[in-house]
Symmetry: C2
Subunit: 636 residues, 2 copies
């Protein structure tokens, strides 16, 4: 079993991810604070709302604030900032002050529907909000050493543990929107209090048992519908929608709301790791395979349909109508990171990298202040990022992932090995071979293929370093102190096991040609189509880059006939590698008689005009003139 | 100006269409009678319904019965049948007896909501039902010479003319679902009473004027919502949905509910022809072009979306989710037939033929007893015809079109010319060159390309015959009395102007190779795809014909590499020409490493395995083992 090197022990000092963290810190976190303040989310915590007053708080709101506190806390620890810290402490103070004498902490159910506390676990997101508050509390404590929020949330967790469970007088319930499970495991890891882990395991184990909790709960309410409506009428498929259709160890397919699914699977993996629960691990692996082999966009986006924000049939991955919620991408990164710790298998890291660089990053604009909730892979030009959402889960979710990205860079196995998953420029402090070791990294990823790690330690020590060779890379050259070396590959990682001396450097050069990517042929919307990828970045075509080619009728020429050029353009989108490729446009006009009573149908294939097409990284789309966008273009 | 040779003067005695009429007569009409009876539609006409009783009549129901009477009347006239006649007279008796003393005739608003008569012309389909009753009455009179239903409907039309209009005390309203306009013109043509035409013109002219009638009407109801809900909330785009967004002469795009649109455009063309209204003709032509050049499936189906059963954006013609309601196809045939009479332009006949042979005929099963309401161009195997529908507009709509098909075969221009639009085997009685002429036809269409017309007349006479060369035909050979002749082509018709003697025969041999059809490249769902057509028939691929090729992954090889064979198979689907063509299947498995952390995405194009694919006429799909179906296959 591996464990991540914690985010607080990893610095990211330069390059792509440092720039993303800087934008997150300087633009996104302040913008999100303003939104939370201006929309009433902070005021709601003052518990002064009166019936009839606008805005009426929403039962989601605490979770938005909590995720912002979590994100800001990570950032403060690595990059102190007095103004941000003042805002964090203001919000933490509001949260602590909003706690009720019995430990309860939820602004909505304290003032808007106090009589309804813990009566609608299916829809009312109380346990979901509690989970995000728990994560915020752990992060705030780890970042600042201050215990006020952590202590408050420990009391709230204890109250929840009193209310829910299989004991006499307890509700045998569990959350309709998962999240608290993984949060309770984090709390247990921080406090060491076994009851937090036990409560997480209770929620995991209880889920999907018969009789269905939602029916029991609705009866207990005297038949009053949940906050999203009556169970029988409006949400016939609800048990699948919130993954309560079967006990989790008997779940074989990824179904329902994709964010809920990701948070559940993370909680399952956490409990499995903490308790050594083999059947639970096996369920995680089955669900992972189903998500990534049948339900994942090439961007790492998941959840194709807007109707319940979730998974549909196998290989149903439409591009224009893709939902691919930003939160679901963030959730997949969380899930991948947990699966990766089991045996350091590069296929988990490949998906982690795919979703981070594409489906997660697309959620934020180049200026850091507008956000996609939905991430389509094709657009007619009408899809744009927004300042905020009434349901604003996504913006702070990306912020907390970016701010804690250091935690995704390395893992260690005891003191014996360290594995590099995500190249960054910066350094990590680890304990290896009985020594305190600093691993200094340099990389020009994702634009170039150079990855170097210099080992710093007081005296020589023996341990292994694993350097990941990404799945997209066909040619990796490894050097140690400048000399080519050979190293065995284990599950996608080159493994160098040797005695290391201070200053030793291993360098990896990853070939990064522009690659054509083809989808599994059952993906109807991608048949006969191709996407471009270079390194970890999926590319897309935006209309603004094709003055002569209407994207709606553009296609790529076959690889053999059409070389692709990749070149860094410092003036483009803040500096990105653009890809240029030879393509064609089908002409709408036809000179041949159509012969079918309408120019809609013709006897000849549309004529083609050669064009040069330019692609930019998908994550950077919709930052210039509005227009059509395509990830997958026909190939002919 | 041309006029159709009436259905009662044209017999269809053998071949494809005779078989379709036989099936319609022997299977479909009796099945529809049983459905009308068993679902309570006939009982509703007895006006004995009491509150609380099930089934509760629906305000559509009279129209279903009316269309059945209309269809059965046509059939009785050409093919007497005592049992069918007894049923027709029973239903006609019920209708006549259901008329109220003041002339009102609507079973629903007589017994279920008597207080709501003519208060919701937007949703309640009263004028729509009246229109279908009018058509039934005209057909019944023409078929049987009996006046009872016609007289009843004349009284009802007069009542409607009293209620609606611009005079004092009248409602300045018009129907939310068009139909009565074209029906009133038919009534005028039958009775010669000018007021029927005037009322039709009133409805046409009034439509789309400001203030919007629906708002005036809703105010008059004191704000009570219409039968489909409140105007402002649920149907924001209602004026476009029912084509009341602008006066009809200022309409430039086909919008909204497609059946309503077709019936409106037919009414507009009828009024334009009857009154010589140039701007109204111009509007019809613009709307025709918009429908057929930007909104028509290759099957002639129209109206892509289920959400309001109507037209969407230009070139938005998705295949699997195609709505393409059978009634809309029938309506397009009606509209095409009217436009064709203006100047005998073959492009209207081409669309008429396309929709008849494909989008209309697909509405009925091979056994004549189950029906499609929605006609997709691709299916995953879950779309099947049904016995009946709660909204059962489509089955009797096809029945009345098939039973009156003789009316679509010929048109005449005075006594100077006759034009053959639709080859059938049978004969037509016409007056040409001052003589009573019988035009005897033989054809093996749609399976073969032979069309022959023998002229029968007492003494020689000079007139012109026009024989249509369909748009799909590249090579037509014309003979007169066995000798090749040349004839000029006018708008798609070969014109032979000569003195005709008894027994003269003109014969046309139409080349009928299998053709590949390509869509306008703006049709996203058809890009890179091809459909097969032979003669007027669009073909489709059904899974049942491809034991080795999963259709979801099949494609056609390019034309040059893949000849197609057409062969009549008497054992297949009652005898059809099947088309066999060389294609390929993309393999789901990949031997090359995928390199992307998931077998969903690969670096190599899917491998292809050659297969032989068989296609059958689209109209005949879903008559064998359930399975996937595709009209458009990728070409590569």
């Amino acid at each position: 079993m591996w464990s991540p090197v914690p985010w607080r022990d990893v610095s990211i000092t330069d390059g792509f991810w440092a720039e993303m963290q800087r934008r997150n810190r300087e633009r996104t976190l302040p913008a999100e604070y303003r939104q939370c303040r201006d929309t009433g989310r902070l005021d709601a915590l003052r518990l002064r709302w009166q019936p009839g007053q606008q805005p009426r708080p929403h039962f989601f709101w605490d979770s938005d604030v909590a995720k912002w506190v979590e994100a800001a806390s990570y950032s403060l620890a690595t990059h102190p900032d007095a103004e941000l810290e003042a805002h964090v402490e203001e919000v933490v103070g509001l949260l602590v002050a909003a706690q009720q004498p019995d430990g309860y902490l939820n602004s909505y159910f304290t003032v808007v529907e106090p009589e309804a506390r813990f009566t609608d676990t299916r829809d009312a997101h109380e346990l979901y909000c509690a989970g995000h508050l728990l994560e915020a509390a752990v992060a705030h404590f780890q970042a600042t050493g201050r215990r006020s929020l952590l202590d408050a949330l420990c009391r709230y967790a204890d109250l929840i543990g009193t209310v829910f469970g299989r004991g006499p007088g307890q509700k045998p319930g569990y959350p309709g929107h998962e999240e608290i499970e993984l949060a309770l495991v984090r709390l247990w890891r921080t406090t060491g209090e076994r009851r937090h882990l036990d409560l997480a395991r209770y929620f995991i184990d209880e889920r999907g048992r018969q009789p269905l909790w939602w029916e029991v709960e609705e009866q207990a309410r005297g038949g009053t519908p949940g906050h999203f409506g009556g169970l029988t009428k409006t949400m016939r498929d609800l048990p699948r929608t919130n993954q309560s259709h079967a006990p989790v160890r008997e779940q074989y397919e990824a179904v329902g709301h994709s964010v809920r699914a990701m948070y559940l699977y993370c909680g399952m993996a956490d409990v499995a790791q903490a308790t050594g629960d083999g059947p639970l691990w096996a369920a995680c692996e089955r669900l992972w395979d189903d998500v990534t082999e049948r339900h994942m966009y090439v961007t790492g986006g998941i959840g194709s349909t807007a109707s319940y924000e979730g998974f549909t049939a196998d290989y149903d991955l439409p591009n224009a109508s893709a939902y691919a919620e930003t939160c679901a991408a963030v959730g997949l990164a969380f899930f991948a990171h947990r699966m990766l710790q089991r045996d350091c298998d590069g296929r988990y890291a490949d998906v982690l990298e795919r979703v981070l660089f594409n489906g997660v990053l697309s959620g934020v604009s180049a200026d850091g202040e507008t956000f996609f909730y939905v991430n389509p892979l094709a657009s007619d030009g009408t899809r744009h990022r927004q300042d905020w959402f009434s349901c604003a889960c996504c913006p702070p979710n990306v912020a907390r992932l970016l701010a804690s990205l250091g935690g995704y860079v390395w893992s260690v196995r005891g003191e014996e090995e360290a594995a590099l998953h995500l190249p960054v420029t910066g350094s990590a402090r680890v304990r290896l071979g009985g020594r305190d070791v600093t691993l200094e990294q340099r990389t020009d990823q994702p634009w170039g293929g150079a990855v170097a790690v210099r080992v710093r330690l007081g005296a020589p020590a023996r341990f292994a370093l694993r350097l990941r060779v990404p799945g997209w890379c066909d040619g990796a050259r490894l050097r140690c102190n400048g000399e080519p070396v050979a190293a065995p590959t284990e599950r996608g990682y080159l493994r160098l096991d040797r005695e290391w001396r201070d200053g030793d450097e291993v360098a990896l050069e990853l070939a990064m040609p522009v690659q054509r990517v083809y989808a599994h042929p059952e993906v109807q919307d991608d048949q006969g189509r191709v996407a471009l990828q270079r390194g970890p970045l999926v590319y897309c075509f935006e209309q603004v880059d094709q003055p002569d080619a209407p994207l709606a009728r553009a296609l790529l020429l076959p690889e053999s006939a059409a070389p692709a050029w990749a070149a860094f353009d410092p003036a483009l989108l803040g500096g990105v590698v653009a890809v240029t490729v030879a393509g064609a446009v089908e002409e709408a006009e036809t000179t041949a008689g159509t012969g079918h009573g309408s120019p809609l149908y013709r006897r000849a294939r549309p004529a083609r005009r050669p064009v040069v097409l330019r692609a930019v990284p998908y994550f950077a789309w919709d930052n210039r003139a509005p227009g059509a966008m395509r990830v997958w273009l026909r190939e002919a």
